[in-house]
C-alpha cells in the first residue's frame, strides 16, 4: 500500500533514536558490567563475573535492594488503596464533577517532581509545617524525628507522586466496563455491594495489575526521594548506583547492579503482562 521509501522514511528515525540512545548505552553498560577498575582508578577491559559475585557477596547491596523492594511494595499498596476508590468514585458516581476531578488528579503531574519532593521536606522537617503544628496544639513536646530522613518519608512522598500512575490504568479499566453489566447485575437481584465484588472488581483486575506494576517499578528505581528525604536509613538501590558511578568511581559494579535491576524489572513486567492477559476476557 505504501511505497518502500515511505516505509523506510517513517521507520528509520525512531529506529535510529532507539539504537543510539537506548540500545548502544545498554550495550556499553553490559560490557562495563564485566570489566573492572584497577587500584589506579583505570577501567580494565578484562572480562569476568567478579562484579556480579561482589553483588551477591556484599550484604549491603542485597539489603539495600530488599529495602528498596519493601519501600516500593508499600508505595504500591498505598497507591492502590488511594487510587482504586478514587478511580471507582470518578468512574461510577462523580457525575458532572468527573471531568473536573479527573483534571485535579492529573494536574500534580505537571508540577516538577523536585518541587513536590521539596514540599514534603518543608512539611516533614523538624521545623517543618507538621511538627510546628503538632507542637502548637500541644500534641507533641519535641519534633517527631521519624517524619523526615526515614523510609516513612520516602514511602509518603513516592505514594504522593505515583498514585496518579496507579489511578490511571484502574480508571481506564473501570471506564471499559459496559454499564449494562451493572444494570444486569442489579436486575438479577444483586445489591450494589454484591455487584461491586462479583462484577466490577473482577473486571477491573487488569487495571489493578497495571497500576500496581507502575507504582512498584517506578518507586523501585527512584533515587531523588530517598536522596532528598530518605536519610541514611532510607537509602535505595538507585542511590547506590548513583554513588558508584559518581563519588566511588566504580562504573563496572554500578553497571552490574543496573543490569540486575533491569532484569528484575523486565521479569516483573512480563509477570504482570501474563497475569493481565489471563484476567482480561473479551
Amino acid at each position: 500500500m505504501f511505497s518502500r521509501a515511505y516505509r523506510v522514511a517513517i521507520t528509520l528515525p525512531p529506529l535510529l533514536w532507539v539504537t543510539l540512545f537506548l540500545l548502544v548505552p545498554y550495550l556499553l553498560l553490559f560490557c562495563y558490567s564485566f570489566w573492572s577498575v584497577s587500584p589506579q582508578q583505570i577501567i580494565v577491559h578484562s572480562w569476568s563475573l567478579d562484579n556480579y559475585r561482589e553483588l551477591l557477596r556484599v550484604n549491603v547491596y542485597l539489603q539495600t535492594l530488599f529495602r528498596s523492594m519493601w519501600i516500593a511494595a508499600r508505595v504500591m499498596f498505598f497507591a492502590l488503596l488511594l487510587g482504586y476508590p478514587l478511580a471507582y468514585y470518578l468512574s461510577f458516581h462523580a457525575g458532572k464533577r468527573r471531568d473536573l476531578l479527573y483534571q485535579l488528579v492529573i494536574i500534580p503531574l505537571w508540577v516538577s517532581y523536585l518541587v513536590r519532593a521539596y514540599a514534603w521536606k518543608t512539611i516533614l522537617g523538624s521545623d517543618g509545617v507538621l511538627n510546628t503544628l503538632l507542637e502548637y496544639v500541644h500534641l507533641t513536646k519535641h519534633p517527631l524525628e521519624f517524619l523526615l530522613y526515614s523510609p516513612f518519608a520516602v514511602v509518603l512522598t513516592l505514594t504522593h507522586i505515583y498514585t496518579p500512575f496507579a489511578f490511571l490504568p484502574i480508571y481506564a479499566s473501570l471506564e471499559h466496563i459496559p454499564r449494562n453489566l451493572v444494570e444486569a447485575s442489579h436486575d438479577l437481584g444483586a445489591s450494589p455491594f454484591q455487584t461491586f465484588w462479583r462484577v466490577i472488581f473482577p473486571l477491573s483486575i487488569p487495571g489493578i495489575l497495571a497500576g500496581a506494576t507502575f507504582a512498584f517499578v517506578l518507586s523501585l528505581g527512584d533515587f531523588l526521594a530517598p536522596l532528598l528525604l530518605g536519610g541514611p536509613s532510607g537509602i535505595m538501590i538507585s542511590n547506590v548506583v548513583v554513588s558508584l558511578f559518581g563519588a566511588v568511581y566504580n562504573w563496572p559494579l554500578g553497571a552490574a547492579i543496573s543490569l540486575s535491576m533491569l532484569g528484575l524489572v523486565l521479569g516483573l513486567l512480563f509477570l504482570s503482562e501474563t497475569l493481565e492477559k489471563k484476567w482480561s476476557i473479551r
Partner: protein, 371 residues
C-alpha cells in the same frame, strides 16, 4: 390522597383477574424533554404484551421504568397490588433480557445463569439443579462451561433468556432482544420465544420497533408514539380497527382517506359511502387488501362501493403484490392482491363500506396525506 375509583383504562386481556402490573399515568422527561406522556396500561398474568414504537417513541424508557433503571417523573407503577416504582431494581420481581444480552464476560455460561440464585444465596445444590433446567429449556446445556465470548449471538441470546428465567420472575422484560440477529434466526427465535412463554406461563413485556414481530408474537400490542400510548389491543383488533391515523399507517399498509361527511355519507373524490361518523372532515383507513378488482360494477349497492381506475404501478412481494390504482378524479389508492402477471387497461374495483374504518387524527398531525 382521596380514594379514587380505578379508571377502567385498557381492560386487560384476561378480564376479571387483578392485573399483574399496573402502570398509572407515568410521565418521564429528560432535561425537560418529555419522552413519556401520561402512559397508563395494565399487564395480566401470563400475558405477552408488546410495546411497539419507532425509535424515540419512549418504549425503552417505559421498560426501564418498569425494571427500575429509570425513575418516572410522575405516575406510579404497581405490581401485584404493591407499589414498586420506589424500589431499586434488585428488589423487584422483574428480570430483563437486555438488547445486547449483557452477559458477564468473566463468568461461564452456567455461572451467568446461576448469578441470580447465587446472589439470592440459594443453596448450592439447588442452584445447580435450576441452572441445569434453565439451560436445558433454552437448549444450551452443551455450552455450560463456555465463556460468552466463545458462543454466537443467537446462543448468547438464549443464555440471557435462561439467566433471566432461572429467577422465576413475576414478569420478564425483553428489550429488542432479537434486533441483533439476522432475519432467519430472528423468525426462528420469535416462534421459540412465543412457545417458551406459553410453557413457563410468565408474563412477557417485549419491546420492539418491528410491527410484524409484534403481530406474530403478542397477545396485545401497546403502540407508543412520541411518548403517548396510541392504542393498546390484540394484534387482529389493532390491525382491523386502528384507532388513529398513526396506528393505521404504522401497523401494515393503509389508504388514509380524508373525507367530507355530510348527513351520514362520506365523500372522498367521486367515492361515496355510508358512515355513522358525525358531519365534518373525517379520516378513514382502508386497508389495501380490502379493495378488490371485479369484473363489472353490478354488485354495487349501499354497502359496496364501486369505482373505476387503472393500475399505475406494481410492487411484487412474493405471494402478494401491492398495486397503485389511479382512479377517476385524480385519486390514488393502494390495493393488495394475489400476485398476477399483468394489469392492463381500465378496470372495476370495489370495497365494502364497513372496511373504511374511521380513525382519529394523531396528535402530531401527520397522516393527512393519502398514500
Amino acid at each position: 390522597m382521596a380514594t379514587t375509583i380505578e379508571p377502567a383504562i385498557n381492560q386487560s386481556a384476561k378480564s376479571g383477574a387483578q392485573p399483574l402490573l399496573s402502570i398509572r399515568n407515568v410521565s418521564k422527561s429528560f432535561a425537560k424533554n418529555p419522552v413519556l406522556r401520561d402512559v397508563s396500561l395494565q399487564i395480566a398474568e401470563g400475558e405477552f404484551l408488546t410495546i411497539l414504537g419507532e425509535s424515540g417513541s419512549g418504549k425503552t424508557t417505559l421498560l426501564r421504568i418498569i425494571a427500575g433503571f429509570e425513575n418516572a417523573s410522575s405516575g406510579e407503577v404497581f405490581m401485584g397490588g404493591e407499589r414498586i416504582d420506589m424500589l431499586p431494581p434488585y428488589r423487584r420481581r422483574v428480570n430483563t433480557v437486555f438488547q445486547n444480552y449483557a452477559l458477564f464476560p468473566h463468568l461461564s455460561v452456567s455461572e451467568n445463569v446461576g448469578y441470580g440464585p447465587r446472589v439470592a444465596k440459594v443453596d448450592k445444590s439447588e442452584i445447580a439443579v435450576r441452572v441445569e433446567q434453565a439451560l436445558a429449556m433454552v437448549k444450551m446445556t452443551a455450552y455450560a462451561g463456555s465463556k460468552p465470548s466463545q458462543i454466537s449471538g443467537g446462543q448468547q441470546q438464549r443464555v440471557a433468556l435462561a439467566r433471566a428465567l432461572v429467577n422465576r420472575p413475576g414478569l420478564l422484560l425483553l428489550d429488542e432482544p432479537l434486533s441483533a440477529l439476522d432475519a432467519n434466526l430472528r423468525r426462528q427465535m420469535q416462534v421459540e420465544l412465543k412457545s417458551l412463554q406459553r410453557e413457563v406461563g410468565i408474563a412477557f413485556v417485549f419491546v420492539t420497533h418491528d410491527q410484524e414481530e409484534a403481530m406474530v408474537m403478542s397477545d396485545r400490542i401497546a403502540l407508543l408514539h412520541m411518548g403517548e400510548l396510541e392504542q393498546i389491543a390484540a394484534p387482529r383488533e389493532i390491525y382491523a380497527r386502528p384507532a388513529t391515523a398513526y396506528t393505521a399507517q404504522f401497523i401494515g399498509h393503509t389508504n388514509l382517506l380524508r373525507a367530507e361527511v355530510r348527513g351520514g355519507v362520506a365523500r372522498y373524490g367521486p367515492l361515496r359511502w355510508h358512515t355513522s361518523t358525525p358531519d365534518g372532515v373525517a379520516l378513514f383507513s382502508l386497508r389495501p387488501e380490502n379493495i378488490r378488482c371485479v369484473q363489472d360494477g353490478s354488485g354495487a349497492n349501499a354497502e359496496v362501493i364501486c369505482f373505476r381506475g387503472r393500475i399505475s404501478s406494481q410492487a411484487f412481494h412474493g405471494a402478494t403484490e401491492l398495486l397503485k390504482i389511479a382512479c377517476e378524479g385524480g385519486l390514488t389508492l393502494s390495493m393488495r392482491s394475489a400476485a398476477r402477471e399483468t394489469w392492463e387497461g381500465e378496470r372495476q374495483f370495489e370495497f365494502a363500506a364497513g372496511d373504511a374504518v374511521p380513525v382519529r387524527e394523531s396528535h402530531s398531525g401527520e397522516g393527512g396525506a393519502d398514500r
